[in-house]
């Protein structure tokens, strides 16, 4: 299945011939795309197009049936989830995925890239560097004054920010966000866009989003998925004017 003749190392992320099937149903079918350094790529597509599955495949949550995912020259399909994270891929889930029973400080601290082995975690010391970094990130995600509250008491939007903050502290080279503004109020949405604009500097970002306004604001390039395949790819203008896209998605 691996296509011949492309030079994957030019890209930060090269997905080639990626296929996954659940009991015969091909959720993602022979998918190939490439993401550059510092590129912001948005994936759009109707429900069931396989958008979330693509992110699952990249971060190792779901194992591919065929195809390759190369990140900075290493093959992600053969690595465990934690190795993928260590390689520099961060992932935010669709629904806010944070630890309700821990404080915001502790939530962020867990993502601090140190003491990730069993022994490391046992001997981990909360030194000044950790505190400074946590506070710095908390500032960015508008939660500085609530550091020692339980995360359970945050609003939905604040939880989304907290998870973004957790990714930020992890400092990944490729950041994957699954519908970061879904379910947010208008004011939260504006703040989130602001937040994203600060954090996407110096890294590549892969975003799934439905909010077209938001997509237009941030996207460098847009990939449209439909039934597990790429329907169209390019700038927002190009995609918008693609008749296939209009038919299955925008005109829907």
């Amino acid at each position: 299945m691996t296509p011949i003749g492309t030079q994957p190392k030019d890209f930060l992320l090269s997905v080639e011939g990626l296929t996954v099937s659940f009991d015969g149903f091909k959720a993602v079918n022979d998918l190939s795309f490439y993401v550059d350094e510092n590129e912001i790529r948005v994936i759009i597509g109707p429900n069931g197009a396989g958008k979330t599955t693509v992110l699952d495949l990249i971060c190792g949550k779901t194992r591919s049936t065929a195809g390759s995912i190369r990140f900075r020259g290493s093959e992600l399909t053969k690595m465990s989830e934690s190795q993928i994270v260590l390689a520099g891929v961060g992932r935010k889930f669709q629904t806010p995925s944070i630890y309700d029973d821990l404080t915001i400080f502790e939530n962020l601290e867990i993502s601090y890239p140190k003491g990730r082995s069993v022994w490391g975690a046992l001997t981990f010391k909360r030194d000044q560097a950790v505190r400074d970094r946590v506070e710095e990130v908390a500032e960015i995600i508008f939660l500085k004054d609530r550091l020692h509250d339980n995360a359970a008491f945050l609003s939905h939007g604040q939880k989304q920010w907290l998870e973004i903050g957790m990714l930020l502290i992890q400092d990944p080279e490729l950041l994957m966000l699954d519908e970061p503004v879904a379910g947010m109020s208008v004011s939260e949405r504006i703040k989130t866009a602001e937040l994203l604009n600060t954090i996407i500097k110096n890294r590549s970002v892969l975003v799934i989003e439905h909010d077209m306004k938001f997509v237009e604001d941030i996207a460098h390039k847009v990939t449209v998925l439909h039934q597990g395949k790429i329907l169209s790819e390019g700038s927002m203008e190009k995609v918008k004017s693609d008749p296939k896209v209009v038919e299955v998605y925008l005109g829907h």
Binding site: E81, Y99, I110, R116, A121, F124, R126, H148, M166, Q170
Partner: protein, 383 residues
Amino acid sequence: MTRAPSFMDRKDLLALAAVAALLLIVFPLALDGFRLNLVGKYLTYAFVAVGLVMCWGYGGILSLGQGLFFGLGGYGMAMYLKLEASSVENTKIQSTPGIPDFMDWNQLTELPWFWHPFHSFPLTLILIVLVPAAFALLIGSAMFKRRVSGVYFAIITQALAAIATILIIGQQGYTGGVNGITDLRTLMGWDIRTDSAKFILYFVNAILLMGVICCALFVRSSKLGRILVAMREKEDRVRFSGYSVANFQIFVFCLGAVFAAIGGAMFTLQVGFMSPSLVGIVPSIEMVIFTAVGGRLSIFGAVYGTLLVNFAKTSLSESFPELWLLGLGGLFIAVVLFFPNGLAGIWRDYVQPSIDRVFRLRSKDPTDPGQNVAKQAASMPAE
């Protein structure tokens, strides 16, 4: 801020002091030798319960096979003591003197290879910790790496406990069979059957238990403890924050196994024998109940839960021998339905608030983040 060991806050320190006072002062003064020895026996189960708090309460891994590890520790100690009791002189009426009596009855004429290390006491102590840890590592690696979830893990560990029992009973020439390893006498020449020895062993046991509690407190207060809480809630988030979730589960399962094994070894020393009836499903589940009654998230609760259930069991069975199962069964159901956080929950919801009211004036700076884990972990609803 009191800067005692950095892993304990003031509350833990107070709780530890309370347990120490109860075990080291109140019980020895209030109870006669017989009851004290009984308490000592119960406390060996508390080792298992503390391990279960870590595994189940914090790690979210319910093992129904802790009896297996309790047994491995207990049998390790029993094998050493049995070899000491089976000197050639003591066993001269046997056809092969110098081997344990049950081997002789089963026509064994030499000591099986796996018994030989148990001639040495230091080696025995090492094996008591190492063998259960190795087993837990093996089971844990096989299962957690494949993401076996709570219920399945519980059933498989339960099956392992059942297999261990059948195996021990079936291989009686090597293990003493259903009777277990009995008639243990001395530890390096020191007669463990006397009342004074029992008294000393009680203290050794109590101090070891407090060591285990400190160890558990340390793990809980480390970042590892917070990762365990995090894992139990959002395993995927932890995984995608760069942690190998399986390794942490294996660690905490091994920790529980080692705690159980130490308890088993102390059981053998205090009770004077080890038998497969402590390995099987029933004791394994009972130990989970001790934990649940104490409060599955409370390390100290485990100790109180164990003591309470066992006191109840002993006194109920003394006064109403034919009815204690009803009481015990009812206790299980009541704890699960109405007090899912066990004694610790009752303490927190009813007793602690009134104490706090009294001491409110002296409340101190609540912002040291290191202290929050315990409180919050204890305040979460079950699962």
